[in-house]
């Protein structure tokens, strides 16, 4: 039985459709991320699961029970907001105990559970403080403690790390994942940050403009993007229009001017793709720059000119030109980065390429 199940849910605000028909099964105990740019419908979806918004159409079930008509306060969910939303007039302990007071918990149990929750988020001594006396990271931990102390069926996290500084955000990411695994609560996490999504999730749902673009494990979504949007949103990808000349024997042959013939395994191409124009996708870190005189290493090779270098310390991002095509490559730096204007041999493996259908732009 799924912890959360969405069946053809739609959300419209007047004439604007925020979420197009969407179905999703979230399994018990998993960490699922709704990933996408702002306005993609991820927060709207989360708010519908929470009961803060009613779906225009479709059905939402939590633990097999339809909850469309169950008000938020009866859904038993833990909700964590980007801005923490701690009650400023209550102490940390009172904040954490808030949900327990509506669950007929005995007084002694409340004290014990609050202490346990504060232990879990590693802030055991802050119970008597007021929220404004804490740092942003501490406040977010308290918000998390407040949400999990009620033992929710599902934990809903709405961009909980976005308000934190970069360093703190990475610490909290690890911390959040640790706590989630420790208590094993089904978690739905909303973010626009691909790094967070890739690092934390069991499953990622990539959304764009109210539609689901791809559902899959982090590695699948990263390595085998289902659409151009996913290819470009996660990491840096090169997208080129190529001609598929032949499909035979589990392989697909692609040609594009200035490049050698690229023969990719059939499973690297989208289903139903045949001869004709296709979109060739290759990730920036799969393109390797070598000196022109480097020995042939069995990889495909094409001559490129470095147009620009973005030096990042341990790695560099190169902007390259191959004939009429502009490409990006991200390489680790061994000694020195290649200089602007240098001619290089660009090496890549055919199986790192993928083929997608050409999307008709609406």
């Amino acid at each position: 039985m799924s912890a959360v199940s969405l069946t053809q849910i739609v959300k419209r605000f007047g004439n604007f459709t925020a979420v197009y028909p969407m179905s999703l099964e979230i399994s018990e105990g998993s960490f699922v991320t709704l990933l996408g740019p702002s306005g993609c419908g991820k927060t709207t979806t989360l708010r519908m699961i929470a009961g803060l918004l009613d779906p225009t159409e479709g059905e939402i079930a939590i633990k097999g029970k339809r909850v469309n008509d169950v008000p938020i306060h009866k859904r038993n969910l833990g909700l964590v907001f980007q801005n923490y939303a701690l009650f400023p007039h209550k102490t940390v302990a009172e904040n954490v105990a808030f949900g327990l007071n509506y669950r007929n918990t005995a007084k002694a149990d409340v004290t014990r559970k609050v202490a346990e929750a504060l232990d879990l988020v590693q802030l055991p001594d802050l119970g008597a403080r007021y929220p404004k006396e804490l740092s942003g990271g501490q406040q977010q931990r308290i918000a998390l403690a407040r949400a999990i102390v009620i033992e929710p069926d599902v934990l809903l996290l709405d961009e909980p790390l976005s308000a934190l500084d970069a360093n703190l955000r990475e610490d909290m990411r690890v911390e959040l994942k640790r706590i989630q695994q420790r208590i094993g609560v089904t978690t739905v996490f909303v973010t626009h940050d691909q790094t967070e999504a890739l690092a934390m999730s069991d499953q990622i749902i990539v959304m764009s403009k109210g539609r689901v673009e791809q559902v899959g494990a982090p590695e699948d979504v990263y390595n085998s993007p289902a659409t151009e949007f996913v290819a470009q949103f996660l990491g840096a990808s090169n997208l080129l229009t190529a001609q598929c000349t032949d499909v035979s024997g589990g392989e697909m042959a692609l040609e594009l001017p200035g490049f050698p013939k690229i023969v990719i395994p059939r499973e690297r191409a989208a289903d139903g793709l045949g001869p004709g124009p296709v979109r060739l996708v290759i990730r920036a870190e799969k393109l390797h720059l070598k000196p022109l005189d480097a020995a042939d290493d069995g990889r495909l090779s094409v001559e490129a000119i470095v147009e620009n270098v973005d030096y990042q310390g341990q790695s560099a991002r190169y902007f390259l030109r191959v004939g009429a095509h502009q490409l990006q490559a991200i390489n680790m730096i061994e000694d020195h980065p290649f200089a602007t204007g240098a001619k290089v041999s660009l090496r890549f493996r055919a199986r790192d390429c993928a083929a997608l259908p050409v999307e008709s732009k609406p």
Partner: protein, 288 residues
């Protein structure tokens, strides 16, 4: 002059115009009133300068003044309570309305464009013997003879509520508008019904606005002079009317001064007690 010296001086330069106005228009006249209250009105008409306690003795011992003072405080308290009860839902509604918040606020301010006296007198056209309400009821056949609804304590309170409600709504609104709406959502997600969430979270966080609005309404109501003149009967005089009576009618400036100072002191003491016991400082600390 060093930068530090200049910076230390700057607030005073900026404050000077306001301080001058307050001193000339408030402090100095108040001092005059204090001095006047110890003079004595002589039978001949000219006041006798000096240090006499007669006015103060009269103001503090005459039960006539005491009763009217208590009645004034009672009317102010009822008015404040009515404004709070009527104003809170309105302020809540405005703060939670999304697109038309600005329009609603403009509508709230609209009555201020009309003179307070005109607004007060408009009740005569509504409640008077030949007013709208009586005419309507006669036309509907509910009554045969017009009823006298004006010139009693209820109409005085009605007029005061009409005048003071926007002050209350604005104060509560400012307080409510600053409360993060996620807090109510967080409370509901933790199991509180909307009403419980309101009582536990929104209401306590909006108390500073309610307290400020209450204080403003109370002080303005207790010092009111025009409303009882227009809407009250002969027995509904409030304390400010006594001051008017003494100074304008009886030309007894010393007694009028003592009476107005008495009201000032009573209200001042009430404000201090109010601040002390409503724990506004404590609340402000919690909210940071």
């Amino acid at each position: 002059m060093s930068i530090e010296q200049r910076e230390a001086r700057q607030p005073w330069i900026l404050l000077t115009p306001a301080l001058t106005a307050v001193t000339l228009l408030l402090i100095v006249p108040l001092m005059f009133i204090v001095v006047y209250s110890f003079w004595l009105k002589s039978a001949a008409g000219a006041d006798t300068p000096g240090f006499f306690l007669d006015n103060w003795q009269e103001a503090l011992t005459d039960s006539f003044y005491r009763d009217i003072l208590l009645n004034t405080l009672k009317i102010a308290a009822i008015t404040t309570l009515a404004c709070a009860l009527l104003g809170y839902p309105a302020a809540y509604f405005i703060s939670r309305s999304k697109g038309n918040k600005l329009i609603l606020l403009v509508l709230l301010m609209l009555p201020f464009w009309i003179s307070y006296i005109i607004r007060t007198m408009s009740w005569i056209n509504i409640l008077g013997v030949s007013g709208a309400l009586n005419s309507a009821m006669i036309w509907l056949g509910i009554i045969n003879e017009p009823i006298q609804m004006l010139y009693n304590q209820t109409t005085v309170i009605l007029g005061l509520v009409h005048f003071l409600l926007p002050f209350m709504v604005l104060n509560i609104f400012v307080s409510l508008d600053g409360i993060d709406t996620n807090l109510e959502d967080a409370a509901s997600s933790l199991g509180a019904t909307r009403w419980q969430g309101f009582l536990q979270v929104t209401l306590p966080l909006s108390l500073p606005g309610l307290a400020a609005g209450g204080l403003l309404c109370f002080v303005l109501a207790a010092g009111t002079y025009i409303t009882p003149v227009i809407l009250g009967g002969p027995r509904d005089a409030m304390f400010a009317n006594l001051v008017y009576e003494a100074i304008i009618r009886q030309l007894d400036w010393p007694l009028g001064s003592a009476l107005s100072l008495l009201l000032l002191i009573v209200l001042g003491v009430l404000v201090l007690i109010y601040n002390r016991y409503l724990g506004m400082a404590q609340l402000a600390k919690g909210l940071g």
